[in-house]
């Protein structure tokens, strides 16, 4: 098991306080970063192989380097704390138990991208994380850490999954309906309020202070060749010990289920696993010897996404599991682009009909065809996320669906 980096303070009663954070070396990375050139910070993060932990796995240092160097107006840093991906609950732990790690990471990131203002967009349902994080922001202001060249605005969402998609988040932040924006332009060029903006996940930014403190090489060495560091896995479903576990990006799904989460519960027999949040393609019981990094899961036709691991034992009905997700996507599609707006509702109706006992065998081919036809045609990755489960659940467990259908 890898060294615990992100959750190192979680055991302390006072981990959320400034004193507790300082007692374990907090804000020393910021002290160090203040002596570094912005470009040097970005370079260090590039070398660390840190990749976005919010879902897309984009190389973080590279994202920062897209901000135009010649821009004279404001540059914004926006933290995605919307944590809406089904099966994902790691960011809330960071916000509640180590809020200063995010603040320190934001200070360093802001220096790297020359930003004087950061926004933290917190999922509306996260009341306690919001309270605790806001308290930490206040303490950081009182201690002079904030307000001297960098300010943080805490903004609460109102409960829409699509506001976790970075441009939907920016629309919402701007006071508009949370509709994703067409790209180009990308946020790094024209983001919040029309200014260059870097959007990063909570956990991604919490990785920055350790990288600055202990060096890119150390961080890169914790993970795989193409992804550095450890990350927090949210493990839920049919396991003996559900929870958030930190381990290397190189850990396998089998290790997570068996070594961390205490193995499969209920029937004790594994049927399937969702490895990276609701939008990741499902894996069968014999596909779990896979490294949990971006490239490892990509090779298996799935994705690490937000590292939300949902375990299903033999007693779980896959069609019913798909129904839950299909309802979710139909409900959460922002409705802006035609393929997503129309297919998510249509597919939900078909899956519902099948689970309800009124399915026809040709429904399955229709679902697969409809899902595939919409792929890659939409404004944001929501729909590509939705078709991950539509296709994989049916293709890998077709017999289970057919058993529910009439001839």
């Amino acid at each position: 098991m890898a060294e615990i980096v992100l959750m190192r303070n979680f055991g302390r009663q006072d981990s959320h306080t400034l004193a507790g954070y300082r007692a374990t070396g907090g804000y020393t990375a910021w002290e160090k970063a203040k002596g570094m050139e912005p470009a040097a910070i970005t370079e260090e993060v590039k070398k660390s192989n840190l990749r976005g932990l919010g879902g897309a796995g984009f190389p973080t240092g590279m994202k920062w380097s897209f901000v135009p160097k010649t821009h004279t107006g404001p540059v914004y840093l926006v933290i995605n704390a919307d944590e809406g991906e089904p099966g994902t609950f790691k960011d809330r732990y960071l916000l509640e138990r180590d809020p200063h790690a995010l603040i320190e990471g934001m200070l360093i990131t802001a220096r790297a991208i020359r930003s004087a203002k950061g926004f933290v967009y917190i999922r509306g349902e996260y009341v306690q994380p919001w309270r605790i994080f806001s308290g930490a922001v206040k303490d950081a202001y009182d201690a002079g850490l904030l307000g001297n060249g960098f300010d943080i605005v805490v903004h609460r969402g109102a409960g829409a999954y699509i506001c976790g998609e970075e441009t939907g988040l920016l629309s919402s932040l701007e006071g508009k309906k949370g509709w994703p924006k067409i790209k180009p332009p990308f946020p790094a060029i024209k983001g919040a309020f029309g200014e260059p903006t870097v959007v990063n996940n909570v956990e991604t930014i919490a990785c920055v202070p350790p990288i600055i403190n202990r060096g890119a090489e150390w961080f890169a060495g914790l993970g795989t060749k193409t992804q550095g560091g450890t990350r927090m896995y949210s493990v839920s479903g049919r396991v003996t010990k559900p929870g958030v576990y930190e381990d290397s990006c190189a850990v396998t799904l089998r290790q997570l289920i068996h070594d961390h989460a205490g193995g499969v519960s209920h029937t004790g027999k594994l049927k399937a696993v969702v490895p990276g949040g609701g939008s990741a393609a499902i894996l069968t019981a014999d596909e779990i010897d896979v490294a949990m990094d971006v490239d490892g899961l990509k090779a298996k036709g799935s994705m690490i996404g937000s590292a939300g691991v949902v375990v299903m034992d033999e007693s779980v009905s896959i069609p019913e599991a798909l129904l839950v997700l299909a309802r979710f996507y139909a409900h959460e599609s922002c409705g802006q682009c035609t393929p997503c707006r129309e297919s998510t509702g249509w597919i939900y109706k078909m899956v519902h009909r099948i689970v309800d006992g009124h399915g026809r065998k040709d429904d399955l081919d229709t679902i697969l065809d409809v899902a595939k036809r919409g792929g890659g045609t939409t404004i944001c990755a929501f729909y590509d996320g939705a078709i991950g489960p539509y296709i994989s659940y049916i293709e890998k467990f077709r017999g289970e669906f057919e058993a529910l259908c009439r001839s």
């Binding site: 829409a160 699509i162 920016l170 629309s171 701007e174 508009k176 309906k177 924006k181 067409i182 180009p184 024209k190 309020f193 029309g194 139909a330 409900h331 959460e332 599609s333 922002c334 409705g335 802006q336 682009c337 035609t338 393929p339 707006r341 129309e342 297919s343 998510t344 509702g345 249509w346 109706k349 078909m350 009909r353 229709t366 409809v370 036809r373 919409g374 890659g376 045609t377 939409t378 404004i379």
Partner: protein
């Protein structure tokens, strides 16, 4: 300037041109719903997909700018397949109520289904139901089930009028166009949302259920609602005269002109045509005397009026021309005046209340040709003319169009003037208090019943064409005035409007060098005039983020 290849054809376009416009210039239509050249890019309908070489997936043409060396294919198997899918998605929840939909026949769902869809429907589940026949404002009706959520109307109210009445509410396939709480779709340009709606979701309450669009014919014309002279198409129903209670003009639609109105029309102008088919239309020349009121033939009316004009000395005759008359009419009137050396002419009758212009297209001057009347030399002292009439110095008064008793002048003064003239002549399209008491009534064809030109406030001369025949025996004013010129011994310019225009060009320096050909569909500025182009829409004058 980037040079690119689309479907094997090379084209060079200005930097910033998107692929829909670049293809359009080559005569290639990339199908689309949400894109509109006058609005921001939404990229929502996903229909305008094209293949670009070295790009792994089809791209939306609306949000892709032409780049040097780009090779674009608009008709690959993959593009066709994608379009077919997008059409299916657009239609799965559509109610398919074409038989009772006003848009049928000009609906882009129908057109594109036939061109790019033609799949076998697979949707067997219950469709999403939404409100139907929801009035959004005085002019616009919403059918939310027919809506494809292209957001053009929403963007119009945000970006053009800046009034922001509309939004898209709810999410997913329950998304719905609607009004913000407490708002109605009330602004000077609300009718435009019907034009830009590509489907039958927004219909015009004035046009609903009046006539099927395939029975309509169109003629290029100019709005007569104000001095801007927005370019329009007049849609008329000649083929089903029993529909719409015999109304021939079905609707006015904007016609693009970058220098005047861009894509838009104001509601004042759009609905300013009721008078054409109103029961008050004058359809035959009338003589009114002690023996009574009689409809007469034109010959009799022309000789009667000519004789009346000859009976009086020129300074006993006053003429109130109208800024609603076309340039050709105004010249013909001038010839009538010249034939008798009459000098007491004016056109400026004060309106009962000063009309208001707005911050976009609509001008407070609600007449289409004040500039023309001035340039053709019919301007004079209206007040003085009326004072002479009141003083009994005028024996004959010839009024074009104006209802002097509904003007800004005190009715008592007008009545006094009318009581003192012996011969009152009226020329106009519709009956009013003046025509009711005139000894001679000469019925004029409405602008949609004839051709001619107006000169707008900037000095742009624009042509309007005939869409329907004149009602009854009504004649274009240049025609009836030409007949009077002949009766007075002069030589009319000819029996076509264009011949009068040529004479105008020849004899009035302000119009030197113009011609019907050069005016074309875009208009031509008179010598020395400059145009500021269509104004920046109010919604674009504030900086919007994002």
């Amino acid at each position: 300037m980037p040079k690119l290849t689309i479907d094997g054809k090379e084209i060079e376009v200005e930097a910033g041109t998107n692929l829909i416009e670049a293809a359009r210039r080559l005569g290639i239509e990339v199908p689309h719903y949400c894109y509109h050249p006058g609005l921001s890019i939404a990229g929502q309908c996903r229909l305008c997909m094209v293949d670009i070489e070295k790009t792994p997936r089809p791209s939306i043409a609306c949000n892709t700018q032409a780049a040097d060396g780009m090779v674009v294919h608009t008709d690959t198997e993959r593009v066709r397949d994608t379009r077919r899918s997008i059409m299916e998605f657009h239609l799965i929840n559509h109610p398919l109520d074409c038989p009772v939909c006003d848009q049928a026949g000009e609906c882009w769902l129908q057109i594109y289904y036939m061109k790019h869809g033609l799949y076998d429907p697979r949707m067997t589940d219950e469709k999403v139901h939404k409100p139907k026949a929801v009035p959004l404002g005085p002019h616009v009706m919403l059918d939310a089930e027919r809506c494809i959520l292209c957001s053009r109307c929403v963007r119009f109210c945000d970006e053009i009028t800046g009034t922001g009445e509309l939004g898209i509410f709810h999410r997913g396939d329950h998304s719905e166009i609607g009004l913000f709480p407490g708002r109605d779709l009330v602004n000077n340009y609300s009718g435009n949302v019907v034009d830009i709606c590509p489907v039958g979701a927004l219909t015009d309450r004035d046009f609903r259920f009046q006539v099927r669009v395939w029975y309509l014919d169109a003629a290029r014309s100019i709005c007569t609602g104000c001095a801007r002279g927005c370019n329009i198409d007049v849609h008329v129903n000649r083929r089903r005269p029993h529909h719409a209670e015999g109304k021939r003009v079905a609707r006015l639609k904007p016609r693009f002109n970058a220098d005047v109105n861009a894509w838009w029309l104001c509601d004042v102008g759009r609905y300013h045509y009721d008078f054409v088919d109103a029961p008050t239309r004058l359809t035959a020349p009338v003589r009114r005397n002690n023996a009574g009121t009689a409809e007469i033939a034109w010959d009799e009316a022309v000789s009667g009026v000519a004789e009346a004009l000859r009976r009086y000395s020129p300074d006993q005759v006053g003429v109130l021309a109208s800024p609603r008359m076309a340039n050709e009419d105004l010249l013909a009137l001038r010839r009538v005046l010249e034939a008798r050396a009459m000098r007491q002419v004016a056109y400026d009758v004060p309106p009962p209340a000063l009309a208001e212009g707005d911050d976009f297209l609509l001008r407070s001057d609600r007449a289409p040709n004040r500039r023309g009347a001035e340039l053709i030399g019919l301007g004079g002292d209206t007040g003085g003319l009326m004072a002479s009439a009141r003083a009994g110095r005028l024996k004959c008064l010839w009024v074009f169009h104006h209802d002097l008793l509904a003007s800004g002048w005190p009715a008592a003064d007008v009545r006094q003037a009318l009581d003192r003239v012996e011969t009152l002549i009226f020329t106009g399209t519709n009956a009013n208090a003046i025509s009711e008491r005139a000894q001679w009534v000469l019925p004029a064809a409405a602008w949609v019943e004839r051709e001619g030109t107006f000169t707008n406030f900037e000095g742009r001369v624009q042509r309007f064409r005939s869409a329907v025949e004149p009602l009854g025996q009504a004649l274009p004013e240049w025609d009836l005035l030409g007949r009077i010129v002949a009766a007075l011994g002069g030589t009319p310019a000819g029996g076509r409007a264009e011949l009068w225009f040529r004479e105008l060009v020849r004899t009035v320096p302000a119009f030197a060098g113009l011609s019907y050909q050069a005016i074309g569909d875009h208009g031509q500025l008179i010598p020395g005039a400059t145009s500021a182009g269509a104004p920046t829409p109010p919604g674009r004058r504030v900086k919007v983020h994002g």
